[in-house]
Amino acid sequence: MSEQDFHPRIVAFCCNWCSYAGADLAGVSRLQMPTDFQVIRVMCSARVAPEWIIKTLSAGIDGVMVLGCHIGDCHYIAGNHRAAKRFALLKEMLGFVGIHPDRLRVDWVSASEGTKFQTIVTEFVERVRELGPTREFVTAHRRLDTD
């Protein structure tokens, strides 16, 4: 599959108070972006379970974003602190088992940062396109069990 034909499947977990609002602002400002991502709303980036990321990247989704409030600005005081730490560790573990850590991007987007949302989403889609589909290694794994 050529890079052009590859439409990566990407999920972006956005927190209600900051990054989801930032994504809305990007929409209001009509900032254009690639179509290859879907936003899933959560109340706080702390809700994003690392187990979701593990399942997501093992299930054929090619890239995951976790976007929360800037450190210090979390609506729930320090939810994003937990998110920062959990995903710092998870990223390392993904690298150890052979899932490229760049497939997980954790970033902070405030309610007024529509442009930043556009920039990082566009960047991430491009990066995931470079990395290629996860489908290949998931199905390769399955193929082994029929041998």
């Binding site: 690392p50 187990e51 593990i54 399942k55 093992s58 450190i71 320090a78 602190h81 937990r82 920062a84 730490k85 959990r86 710092a88 560790l89 998870l90 390392e92 573990m93 993904l94 690298g95 150890f96 088992v97 052979g98 899932i99 490229h100 290694f137 998931v138 390769a140 794994h141 399955r142 082994l144 069990d145």
Partner: protein, 268 residues
Amino acid sequence: MNTPEVEIRERVRQLLDDDRLPGVLGLRAEHGHVGPHVFNSADDLTALVLEPRYGMALVCQAILDGSPKGRLGVVARGCDERALIEMAKLGQVDLARLVLIGLACSEQQARECMCTRPYPRRIDVGEKVAGVAPGDDARVQQLLAQDVQARLAFWQSEFNRCIKCYGCRNVCPVCICDACVLEEMCWVERGKIPPELPFHLIRAYHIADKCILCGACESACPVDIPLTTLYALSQARLKELFDYEPGLDVTQKSPLTTTLEETPLHEL
């Protein structure tokens, strides 16, 4: 100079007779078989042995849970103590009910387990040895030298042998959940052998802030998956990112549960 075995027997006798402890958990040899046993009389102590290595933490928990009060002695190696400390952090054992006899491991034992800390905090019997340096594990070094693709291929071939016996989970002292997510359909599909990556990676993540590298999981695995290779790497990162080591201090909370002020995140 007494052997460690003799010294331990003496210690256990002291706890039973002088301190009136109702029982001490240790290993007993009978008819050529060795298994955990609660010694409650000094008369039985000639059967007490120290080998082979056997994880005591889960047995401690079972015994403590079985009686609502009362104290228990236990012959504990470094890994046993660290496991008990982690289990105490998770509300699964009450350390106040335990009296530990600290047993240090030999150089050879440390090498067998690739252990970096083959001694408890207080050593009652045995000589402290330095243990294996983190960089000595050849398998870990090999994995680190590989790129992402090669690592994927490595783990695919290893995990491919998994028969989902749950041995790794069952024997692990810090895997405390009776209702385990690895048995839930939404997390791990039922009836698939070998199970997919989430089976291994979810457990690895769950224990990442708790694992004391006792190696019981790898010993238990019937198909020899090198689990401690992955867990040793996670532990190394845990230390680098948060300056945190499980099992050393029961008052220390996991960095994944605290704020950045309480436990900062260091850049790698």
